[in-house]
């Protein structure tokens, strides 16, 4: 116990905890729509789009010869990652709408292209050139390395995205339930979906920089999937998803400090533990009915 109190006395742990909770909250809320719309692959796709964006940013700085100077672009990889992820998100929605391909197929295409582009850009940069971005951090995150400025960015993105998602919750939820019924009742579901994809791109790009591109999808999918097993309404699912995400972040972060393990891993494993607990609770509470209810999804 003393060790845990000790952990919380470090400013880097406090920043990590706040950043983790904010990221878990916005991903928990967004994840409900992602899971119900069967877009679980979206988190991976847009996180890797952010990776491609960071590769592009590093490449541009390298070829323009700015790598030896103090380049703002590389200190703030979000400046490239967010617009790149935003373009990818809108591109996914547009290509899906204009080709008739399923969302997962289109996301798979954008995922592969973004990774290939990112790897190509990073591979062109000689290893002895300092580009200000740690490749390992991009892939696996650096939540313990969150700075004060990062925290402000995350807080602003969280506030804006929560305001949008909560403000439009009734409309997005209706369109998620049935697009046709929502349109028949005057909701502009196409515009709403593009907006949802855009919000998802910003949330995922910002989150991926903290929790890592590889583990990003877990933040979006596992809490919402666990919540789906327990919830009897979409509001319940949303609340439980946020609770699982936040709880897993707190437990995972403290655990990483105690056992000296990578925090990204302990957080995701904590999410997985809560998911299994939710599955066991659902089985105990609802029996076979819960399996039948979720089988269709």
């Amino acid at each position: 116990m003393a060790e845990l109190i000790d952990a919380l006395s470090f400013p880097f742990m406090q920043r990590a905890l706040i950043a983790g909770i904010l990221i878990a909250a916005m991903n928990g809320l967004l994840g409900v729509f992602v899971v119900q719309r069967r877009l679980a692959f979206l988190g991976d796709g847009l996180a890797h789009a952010a990776f491609g964006g960071m590769g592009l940013g590093a490449f541009v700085v390298f070829v323009t010869g700015l790598s030896s100077v103090n380049v703002f672009l590389l200190q703030e990889p979000l400046l490239v990652a967010v617009p790149f992820a935003l373009l990818a998100a809108l591109g996914i929605a547009w290509v899906r709408d204009h080709t008739g391909l399923s969302a997962d197929t289109v996301i798979g295409v954008f995922f592969a292209v973004s990774v290939a582009a990112g790897v190509l850009f990073f591979s062109i940069i000689p290893p002895d050139i300092e580009v200000g971005i740690d490749f390992f951090d991009i892939l696996f995150g650096s939540i313990l390395g969150v700075r004060q400025g990062d925290l402000v960015t995350i807080a602003v993105v969280t506030a804006l995205s929560l305001a949008l998602l909560i403000g439009l919750w009734g409309r997005i939820a209706y369109a998620t339930f049935d697009d046709e019924l929502a349109r028949a009742d005057g909701i502009r579901t196409r515009a709403l979906e593009y907006l949802l994809f855009a919000v998802a791109a910003v949330i995922i790009a910002v989150s991926a920089l903290v929790v890592g591109v590889v583990l990003m999808a877990a933040y979006l999918v596992i809490p919402a999937a666990g919540a789906r097993l327990l919830a009897r309404s979409l509001l319940q699912m949303t609340v439980i998803s946020v609770i699982i995400g936040v709880l897993a972040t707190v437990v995972g972060l403290l655990l990483s400090f105690v056992i000296d393990a990578p925090s990204g891993s302990t957080i995701v494993l904590s999410q997985a533990a809560l998911f299994m607990l939710a599955a066991a609770l659902a089985r105990w509470r609802y029996g076979d009915a819960s399996r039948a209810e979720n089988r269709a999804s």
């Binding site: 049935d178 046709e180 019924l181 349109r183 005057g186 039948a292």
Partner: protein, 233 residues
């Protein structure tokens, strides 16, 4: 109304008075569902305009109660039957429901003989129960017309029979008009007092006796070499 190069619907006017029950029949690909989508404002005509109640289609959704085909619905959505009914009232998905909304939802479910389903998750409803919940969702807003797209699909004979009883009872009480798409010519004959035979355009519109006759159906369905037993009155 066009889809690619093919003309789906053209030059259609259906005059349905309050209290009447219209069945829209026609072969697959005739444009029946498209006709409803146009009326709901979901599909815009390429030329001319679509109107319902004398206004452009889609401008008065509160006057239309729509019951979609059950087969298109995702049953894994976490919601209670009451949430579904309140969505028809609020025209948004309800995060929480008010006492007034719960009361109206209960009344609508009661009207369709499904009062006990309010707290039941959608995933645990049978086809017939789900049909009733969707019907309650349609009538909770007290619409001037109810549109049903193949309401018999996915429900058994008894549930289908109950559905027609409920619709007729609701019509008698409120004077609302009902329009349904069906492939079941017998149901059209026995339950509707108006029938529209559709295949890209209207091939017949009138009472079942006037319209469900061999020449009219042959023209719409394009069958030349065999008879339908149902065509004999």
């Amino acid at each position: 109304m066009r889809y690619g190069d093919a003309e789906i619907l053209s030059d259609i006017t259906l005059d349905l008075e309050p209290g009447h029950f219209l069945a829209v029949v026609g072969p697959n690909g005739a444009g029946k569902s498209t006709l409803f989508k146009v009326a709901l404002g979901l599909v815009k005509p390429q030329r001319g305009h679509a109107a319902i109640f004398g206004h452009h289609a889609g401008v008065a959704p509160e006057r239309i109660g729509y019951v979609p085909q059950l087969k298109t619905f995702d049953r894994s959505f976490p919601a209670l039957a009451r949430d579904l009914v309140v969505s028809g009232l609020r025209r948004r998905w309800p995060a929480r429901t008010t006492t007034r909304e719960r009361q109206l939802a209960r009344e609508a479910l009661d009207l369709v003989g499904a009062a006990g389903l309010a707290q039941r998750p959608l995933a645990r409803l049978s086809g017939g129960e789900l049909q009733r919940a969707f019907l309650a969702r349609a009538i909770v807003r007290r619409p001037d017309i109810i549109l049903l797209d193949e309401p018999a699909t996915g429900v058994d004979f008894l549930a289908e029979h109950d559905l027609y009883d409920l619709l007729e009872g609701y019509q008698a009480e409120t004077g609302a008009a009902v329009a349904m798409i069906t492939h079941d010519l017998a149901a059209a004959r026995y339950h509707a007092d108006r029938v529209a035979v559709l295949n890209r355009t209207i091939h017949g519109f009138g009472t079942p006796e006037e319209v469900l006759c061999e020449p009219c159906l042959r023209e719409a369905y394009g069958h030349q070499h065999h008879d339908h037993g149902l065509l004999t009155f």
